[in-house]
Symmetry: C2
């Protein structure tokens, strides 16, 4: 157990000495944005840095410039394809913008989320992105909001994913519209009797989708009886349980089950099959999100497509484009008024499109 001849990391100082220039010059040559260093010096410095294998200490840079190039990303569950796809978008867009992503998972708990936001604030990130459908009720909510507002007050940007109703920028997703269109299309296919599996009704996303779906049906004077709408966990197992519950109640003449998310729909599919019911034949199933795996389940699932990675990219685009204006609570009333220079589409809702597959054959 020989203990550490732990070499000290190379510092800018070392590079400067090696190159025979001053600290400042070395700094300018290596990291200072504008070109203001004589070429001969610059090359010497760069060479010295390479020779010593120098890497600037980001923390030191951060403290010196009073700001980082960090994006803090909070997701409910990184193993859930919905979030991991969004995360992929956030990470890619961040890398393209030269930002480093820091990540934390909330386990779907608002309390945990609050803790994490507090902790991550210490990073002094430039942007904080919160993706993870949260309940609109919990009391921690208020604390979360004020914590985030404090963060914004110091110049940070907060962007939520699909959380209108909160006083922050958000990547809006056409949840209601998409679900409504799905309903219309399904009715067009000949379906008339529906059941639904939804998450907690306090989950904004789940609620929006369910309501949109119901509205879509209402256009054709179709309703879903109260007992045919079951609320469960917003997960694969929740979907499984929801379908099981429906089964126990007796599906009667139900023709189609709408699950408010694909992971739930996939769970439902398995529950049905285990019960000896063939989805797509005995009963139709539709989901929402269009996560990659729905192409590979049997039958392939009809759903509403969301460009998930785009959602992630959009989040950072919004953050970056609103940087600078400190309308304190950025999204005041009609303030979709972004930085004039900004691609106007950035602040419009992400489009969703219905994708009909074999799980909802026309009848």
């Amino acid at each position: 157990m020989d203990n550490a001849p732990r070499k000290a990391p190379v510092t800018l100082h070392d590079v400067a000495r090696e190159a025979g220039v001053s600290l400042a010059t070395a700094s300018r040559a290596l990291n200072g944005s504008e070109r203001k260093v004589h070429e001969s010096y610059r090359t010497r410095v760069v060479a010295a840095a390479a020779r010593l294998n120098y890497t600037p200490n980001l923390s030191a840079q951060a403290v010196a410039k009073g700001g980082t190039n960090t994006v803090a990303l909070l997701v409910a569950d990184i193993a859930d394809p919905y979030f991991s796809s969004i995360a992929a978008g956030v990470i890619r867009a961040s890398e393209e913008a030269g930002l480093v992503v820091t990540m934390a998972v909330t386990e779907r708990s608002t309390a945990r989320e609050l803790e994490l936001v507090r902790a991550l604030r210490g990073q002094r990130p430039r942007v904080m992105i919160l993706a993870g459908s949260r309940s609109s009720t919990e009391s921690d909510q208020d604390a979360l909001i004020s914590e985030l507002q404090a963060f914004e007050a110091t110049g940070g940007r907060v962007v939520f994913v699909s959380q209108h109703e909160l006083p922050f920028e958000t990547v809006a997703i056409e949840n209601a519209e998409g679900a409504k269109q799905l309903a219309r299309d399904l009715v067009g296919l000949g379906y008339r009797r529906f059941a639904a599996i939804t998450g907690s009704r306090t989950l904004l996303t789940a609620r929006d989708r369910l309501n949109g779906f119901l509205e879509g049906l209402a256009e054709s004077d179709i309703e879903i009886p109260e007992e045919r709408i079951v609320a469960t966990e917003f997960t694969r197992d929740g979907g499984f349980d929801g379908a099981t519950t429906l089964l126990e109640q007796g599906l009667d003449d139900t023709e189609l089950i709408f699950a408010v998310s694909d992971v739930m729909a996939v769970g439902a599919l398995s529950a049905l099959r285990e019960a000896g019911i063939v989805p797509g034949e005995d009963i139709a199933v539709a989901g929402f999100d269009d996560i990659p795996t729905v192409r590979d389940v049997t039958p392939p699932l009809s759903t509403v497509h969301i460009p998930l990675e785009e959602v992630g990219r959009r989040a950072i685009a919004i953050a970056l484009s609103t940087e600078g204006d400190t309308t304190d609570t950025a999204k005041t009333t009609d303030t979709t008024t972004v930085n004039a220079t900004v691609n106007a589409t950035v602040n419009t809702a992400v489009k969703t499109t219905v994708v009909l597959r074999d799980s909802t054959p026309s009848r």
Copy 2:
């Protein structure tokens, strides 16, 4: 576009003044590990901090103490369930240890990986975890290795996931053993004629699994004809393509297709089905990893279970337990000799277990 009354963040200084104590005392009361501050002071400081909603500036702390509490995690593709599950484990374990996780995706490119490692080194992370089966050939490999060794030389820990053959600590996974056992079990089920879909043979993980499988078959004097082994991308689409290729060649009397990863197996399943072949009936399929979705495809997939989240946790456990000893290249020859105090199981390979499901009925 009113510009920023950007409040300056609260500093320790502010807290100290508010509490009427010195900077040093405030520091000790809030972050200094040991209790060496009088209770009355401590409470005043804590109260002041709360009142001002103070959050320590992590960057400043890092530069002052000359080290961070950061874990840098590199994965090939965060949207892939294999990696996102591992990431979930890394993140959870890190949070439990009070570490912040920084994440980057390599897109399966060694060049990109090298870039990222360079960039992330600037963070001065305590640990760097690289998960993402890399090819054993590419030349960037050497650069990567020396970059990582430089990182270790300054006290950082590097942990790979499933990359023996590299001069670093690694979370070993029983890839070969698992595949071998799978082969045995399948033979036990009555299968005799196999085909395989594998990733590039330079991908260590893919190679280990294929070889293990072949060895398992060899024990029963079974071989897979060369043309029945197709190498494709290590992705869902790769699996799809692989099955398609096999189909074009003619499956003849092939009874079972082994794909070296579940995502590939799932893609293969879809290719077969699209070709009108019913997996589980017309032909059996088996995968490797036991990602969550394989329970929900049809038929449920036989595979080799890896406790993916555990792999992630293990990575940080190894990193933390080896901190301190700087055997320069930690894993010299037989050096499984960890810190005496460490849970010995940390450095043993992660166990895999065969899980037989309906995709491989006994015949």
